[in-house]
């Protein structure tokens, strides 16, 4: 190699007149956190990291000490495209360490790194391509319902114009930030859009999802529009999912591909799928982490409810897309339950852990469920051994709490903190008296 990452970063700061470097990292719930340093501090930061008080970050606080180190990952250093070139800013993702330099166990990026290292031990590299759905709404006011842009009157331009020009601008920005887009389109629901990202390694993609959410929101906000990744903002129409296309590679080869199999799926792919299916309930709290997430996972809206797989049945939890042409590299599976409000680092980590458990222990893949499961009576489903995903955050937390797999994948610190935080969320929700109850019972009871 000719150059050096640090030198590259420092030269770029100098040459591009970077005024601020934003250190990005993620809290346990998947919120992007950031603090800015001056260019002069960057050399030091690259060398020794930057100390900051972690106690204000969700999930970072610990009893003993609260100071942690942000270690910039120089590979992710990038000039931000949307700032005035005269006062350019750059960002860099950070890993979080304890003051003694050991990995900080509250850092989601570290959790994913650790799980990817375990995959690497087994000889696998993990690639992910998410299809992210979201809504554009008028800026919300407290207490009001979301107003889709498609409901006329909000803009002088027709709503399709503004929404598609927003989406186009978003895609341009994403591409200029090295996040290539595969497809994008207006989804079924009013004001709902989908952007499909091209696959890349899991760590880069988790960083990419963080950047993606920020770019979508920023660009919408610049035009006075509110973009949301809330899983089910509108009743009666589709919610927003983040289907994940997954594959494992062993060096050059797609470890999921086997040309001799009728499904073109290798034994590895099948036991990976079996692992995901067997542990699906345990990891759902992580892939679908809000109370609202479970209002998306209901029958009738193309969101999975049943723990099953099929080639072309969109009611299943795992879909095996049939590659358009005979391309070994394109063989992959699509895990359909996650929503875009998850923490991508933690979601990728538990999905990988579940799948790899199946591979390591040679789980047997159950039969394909290609009928429409929504139309099957419960007894038939039970006979077929098809379970349902947890119907609420509370159920999901109960399944997670018993899972030694999730505890191991997340590490004790995040596992405990996450359960505590989410139980509190559930308690808060449980005590809330909703409009539904008022409408349905106030007069009749």
């Amino acid at each position: 190699m000719r150059g050096d990452r640090r030198e590259y970063v420092l030269h770029t700061i100098e040459e591009r007149g970077i005024r601020l470097v934003r250190l990005w990292f993620t809290d346990v719930l998947g919120n992007l956190k950031s603090f800015a340093i001056s260019p002069a501090e960057m050399e030091n930061a690259l060398q020794d990291g930057m100390t900051f008080d972690g106690s204000s970050i969700d999930g970072f606080s610990r009893v003993q000490e609260s100071d942690v180190l942000a270690l910039p990952d120089a590979d992710t250093f990038e000039v931000l495209p949307w700032v005035d070139p005269k006062g350019a800013e750059a960002r860099v993702f950070c890993d979080i360490a304890n003051l003694d330099g050991t990995p900080f166990e509250g850092d989601p990026r570290r959790v994913l790194r650790r799980n990817l290292a375990a995959a690497r031990e087994m000889g696998y590299g993990c690639f992910v391509a998410p299809d992210v759905e979201y809504f554009y709404f008028a800026p919300p006011t407290p207490g009001s319902r979301p107003v889709p842009l498609d409901e006329g009157g909000f803009f002088d331009l027709t709503s399709t114009d503004i929404a598609s020009s927003l989406r186009k601008e978003t895609i341009r920005t994403l591409e200029s930030m090295g996040i290539p887009v595969e497809y994008s389109f207006h989804e079924d629901a009013p004001s709902q859009h989908e952007i499909d990202l091209r696959h890349t390694d899991a760590l880069t993609m988790a960083d990419g999802v963080m950047t993606f959410r920020m770019v979508v929101k920023e660009i919408a906000a610049l035009h006075g529009v509110h973009a949301t990744f809330m899983p089910k903002p509108l009743e009666g129409v589709q919610g927003s999912g983040m289907h994940l296309h997954l594959s494992l590679f062993r060096g050059e080869d797609n470890a999921f591909h086997d040309p001799s199999d009728p499904y073109q799926l290798s034994t590895t792919a099948k036991s990976f799928m079996a692992g995901l299916l067997r542990h699906a309930a345990e990891i759902t709290a992580v892939t679908n982490q809000t109370v609202n997430s479970y209002k998306r996972l209901v029958p009738g809206f193309e969101a999975p409810v049943h723990v099953s797989w099929a080639r072309n049945n969109r009611s299943g939890l795992i879909r095996v897309p049939v590659p358009k042409r005979d391309n070994p590299l394109a063989t992959r599976i699509e895990y359909r339950s996650p929503d875009p409000a998850c923490n991508p680092y933690l979601a990728f980590a538990v999905i990988l852990a579940a799948g790899l458990r199946g591979v390591a222990e040679g789980y047997e893949l159950p039969a394909e469920a290609d009928a429409n499961l929504f139309e099957m009576p419960d007894e038939t489903l039970a006979k077929l051994g098809i379970d349902q995903l947890p119907p609420s955050l509370s159920d999901a937390l109960r399944a997670m709490e018993r899972s030694e797999l999730v505890a191991e994948a997340l590490g004790e610190h995040i596992f405990e903190w996450f359960l505590r935080n989410k139980r509190a969320e559930w308690r808060g929700y449980k005590t809330h008296v909703s409009q539904y109850e008022i409408d349905h019972t106030l007069r009749s009871l």
């Binding site: 000719r2 150059g3 030198e7 992710t76 590299g125």
Partner: protein, 236 residues
């Protein structure tokens, strides 16, 4: 260190084709004080290459155009490539230049006036003496400054990550050549890198996205072999 094609070493001799060199050309070269060697064929070009490579080349296309253009291509494919190439063409051949834009840096109409030829030769060799242009690669609207790690496309700075920059720099330093994924992995990422050639594909895709629709095609996929930075035109 990757060898740099444009290393400015004034003492490196100029390759002259054909062999023997046309008498007027030989005289101009001698009078200007350039070190030079005549080469008959691409094989000779490689065999006679001085240590450190050729400094530049002058190719006379007037007698045997096919052989001459083949020589230009051979100059490109050398390791390190020679891209300071001056071609001599007849008035009738001027039309051929457009399609061979990537094979030469400058041209001179034959028969050449000795003073013009001398001036062009000096310019060709002296370009190396600019403010360290050895570290600047120009290629079809791309500009890479290897000293400052900056890349620009049609004058617009490209915001690249380190690995994207390294990948582009490697391809640009081997412009026109197909570079295999394996070579890119070992030369750009280093052998210790885990992740296989998929990593290269993914980074190429990202680079194309950043180059934008207009320039994405500059990086060409050569199926089941690797990638090449295509030569469109020389942006000077």
């Amino acid at each position: 260190m990757t060898p740099r094609a444009d290393d400015p070493r004034p003492d490196r001799p100029i390759a002259v084709h054909p062999d023997p060199a046309p008498i007027d050309l030989a005289r101009t070269l001698d009078l200007s004080g350039h070190a030079w060697k005549a080469v008959r064929s691409p094989e000779a070009l490689e065999r006679l290459a001085p240590e450190g490579g050729w400094g530049a080349a002058v190719v006379d296309c007037t007698e045997d155009p096919e052989g001459a253009w083949a020589m230009c291509r051979a100059l490109r494919e050398l390791e390190p490539a020679v891209d300071r190439v001056l071609v001599l063409v007849t008035g009738a051949q001027v039309d051929d230049l457009a399609t061979r834009d990537h094979l030469y840096r400058d041209f001179c109409l034959a028969p050449a006036h000795p003073r013009e030829l001398d001036a062009r030769l000096r310019h060709l060799v002296a370009e190396a003496g600019d403010a360290d242009p050895s570290s600047i690669i120009h290629h079809a609207g791309l500009e890479l400054n290897l000293e400052t790690y900056q890349a620009a496309c049609d004058g617009r700075p490209l915001d690249l990550t380190y690995m994207e920059y390294e990948l582009l720099a490697y391809l640009a330093q081997h412009a026109g050549k197909v570079v295999s994924r394996e070579t890119l992995l070992s030369r750009v990422w280093g052998y210790e890198y885990f992740g296989g050639a998929r990593t290269v594909d993914v980074h190429v895709r990202r680079l194309r996205a950043k180059l934008g629709e207009e320039h994405a095609h500059l990086i060409q996929t050569v199926r089941s072999v690797g990638y090449r930075l295509v030569q469109v035109r020389h942006s000077r």
